[in-house]
Symmetry: C2
Subunit: 378 residues, 2 copies
């Protein structure tokens, strides 16, 4: 049988010429550091000590054997053996696939409430496949609704815990959005809440937010959502300079009360790899007094105010009135949320909220993908 690759040795690296065309370079120091025998068989942690070999080490011999690359090292180190398929998939310069990577599918007002992905609480609770499917659809849109929750204050958090542990904040592990007929602070008014993301004053604002609707009997009180990725994408096209300011100038955020004073600086838009918008931090309530250079301040205010106007433009908004037994789930670092004014004299409104961070959400997607791969029909 013809080998799938041929090895060529240079001074500091080895080339593999693949039988079906193309070549990849593998630095010797990478090969030594990446030898599968240098990772703990159970935890997968690296146990190989990089300082135990010189930087300019080179194998004494390399050969292809049973579709594996075998390297003989000087001294008494055991030979390294790499499966060729594995080497191709894990070659330097190639990002490994991530089951948690789902491209953001940006949406605007024409999505409509009917376009929001939905799942049944019982399915998500009982079936890993349903859970995986719901997480994937939620991640694409940054927003979904779970329906059929029990009339139990713990029902929403139970579903959130199917994903991972809850993210505690200075407001606790869970929080109650309850509007009182006799409001005693801002959070308890019946006023409209403009669109925002939560806790932008934290170094890491909470990732996924879960709002389980236990009662929504008042007139008004509809929920409003806006895809921050869509708004930022459009801003980048319509006002590239404004976008650049919001993505590069960090501004102060702050929340303080009797027991806390939590501050951070952030850009309103954060770009990730390839310049893709990965995060929106927008909360006019928590934005602290702007302290940026007065020379760029007028331009900054223009961009910031424009973004704010876009988050209130019906062209970007999906509105719906949550029903008791429904839970809205959204990526708080992407999708802005708000609520319409309501009339507290006409009925009771109670949402119970919690958060699970992006890290735990993505971890659950990966673990579920692993299990799914094992059970796939052959």
């Amino acid at each position: 049988m013809r080998h799938m690759a041929r090895a060529r040795l240079e001074a500091r690296q080895l080339w593999l010429d693949w039988a079906d065309g193309g070549s990849d370079a593998f630095p010797y120091i990478w090969l030594r550091d990446t030898d599968p025998a240098g990772f703990h068989p159970r935890t997968g942690e690296r146990v190989f000590d990089l300082t135990s070999v010189p930087l300019d080490l080179a194998p004494e011999a390399a050969r292809i054997e049973d579709e594996a690359l075998v390297l003989d090292w000087p001294g008494d180190a055991a030979p390294s053996r790499f499966d060729l398929n594995w080497l191709r998939e894990n070659r330097p310069g190639r990002r490994r696939p991530d089951p948690a990577h789902v491209p953001a599918s940006s949406w605007r007002g024409d999505l409509g409430a009917a376009g929001i992905p939905r799942a049944r609480a019982a399915d998500v609770a009982e079936s890993d496949a349903a859970l995986a499917d719901w997480l994937r659809r939620s991640k694409a849109m940054g927003l979904s609704i779970v329906e059929g929750l029990a009339d139990d204050v713990e029902a929403g958090c139970r579903i959130a815990r199917r994903i991972g542990f809850l993210r505690e904040t200075n407001f606790g592990v869970t929080f109650e959005v309850v509007s009182k007929p006799d409001p005693n602070n801002l959070a308890y008014t019946a006023d409209a809440l403009p669109l925002h993301t939560d806790l932008t004053n934290q170094e890491l604002p909470p990732g996924w937010q879960f709002l389980h609707c236990l009662a929504n009997e008042a007139e008004g009180g509809g929920s409003v959502f806006c895809d921050g990725v869509a708004v930022a994408e459009d801003l980048a096209l319509e006002d590239p300079e404004g976008f650049e300011l919001l993505a590069s100038v960090d501004i102060p955020f702050r929340f303080h009360d009797a027991e806390t004073d939590i501050r951070t600086r952030k850009t309103v838009i954060r770009r990730g790899e390839g310049g893709r918008v990965e995060e929106i931090c927008f909360n006019a309530h928590l934005a602290d007094i702007l302290d940026i250079d007065p020379a760029i301040m007028p331009g900054y205010y223009a961009a910031y105010r424009r973004l704010m106007q876009m988050t209130r433009d019906p062209a970007y908004l999906v509105t719906l009135k949550l029903k008791a037994g429904e839970m809205v789930v959204f990526d708080n670092r992407r999708v802005l949320h708000g609520r319409a004014a309501f009339d507290p004299s006409t009925g009771f409104r109670h949402l119970r909220g919690c958060y699970v961070d992006r890290g735990e959400f993505d971890s659950r997607m990966r673990v579920l993908a692993r299990a799914a791969a094992r059970t796939e029909p052959v």
Copy 2:
């Protein structure tokens, strides 16, 4: 009485010429957005709606009155009134002071165990002043020891909770570092653990770590600490190109077990404002297979291995053997920790650990500073 400032109006901003020299520019849109009346009196949150005014608004009149700047706006908006001292302190372009800001005081091996700041558990538990003092000293060095803890597994976490709530991770809210005579995985061996920071695979690695020593009766098992800021500072001087690679190229980290698969990408060194080193993420166990461009890989490995060697160089290390009743406290995003090998047949070793994030730590410093200001003798 002569006013402390004189106001000059331009088209889009106002200048204040201070009586003692110097002038500052205040854009009108900033003044409108920053009007103290636009913030909620109790929560301090901004309630003023920026979209309710045009970007190019300008006051109809400005005057200095009782050491305050008073602006009359067009339409029916109430005049804005700013205390002149407040304006000077909060002028655009000036960073407001932060009681949690303590410059990092970098240290090396010559600090010695005797140089580590210490506090008494009873003092920290009972006195806010002692707590504030301990936090300030801990923050400067990134490392301290609390002594005199009760022989109670909860004693360390009780002190941590004086600062803020505990940061949960996939290892739980607290964790037990227990070495067993019959180890069943890597964490339970009696081997030396090279210096590292914890959970570099998390988007936000835990901030402050608390390790309460309940027993340390085995031979060996000393703790080792290394100031990542000092190492990074020296690397920047000795190998600027290597420093730049570690501060600009992000690499993959990963932890996975049966229930989790948590991944992130990070630079090993993170710089903050003014280029100051703000964070070190260094954990060879959790560093995933390096996937960066093969063209920069040899240079990257050289820098990374050099940093690794520095973290093991006695010139940077402080070693000590924790005693039962002591708790070591360190900024896990700055100070690397490790342990010497020990002989489990000679005795029991048990540390109980937990984390409090930097955000909660800094918040507690600010709240304590507020209380201290109120009680200062006049």
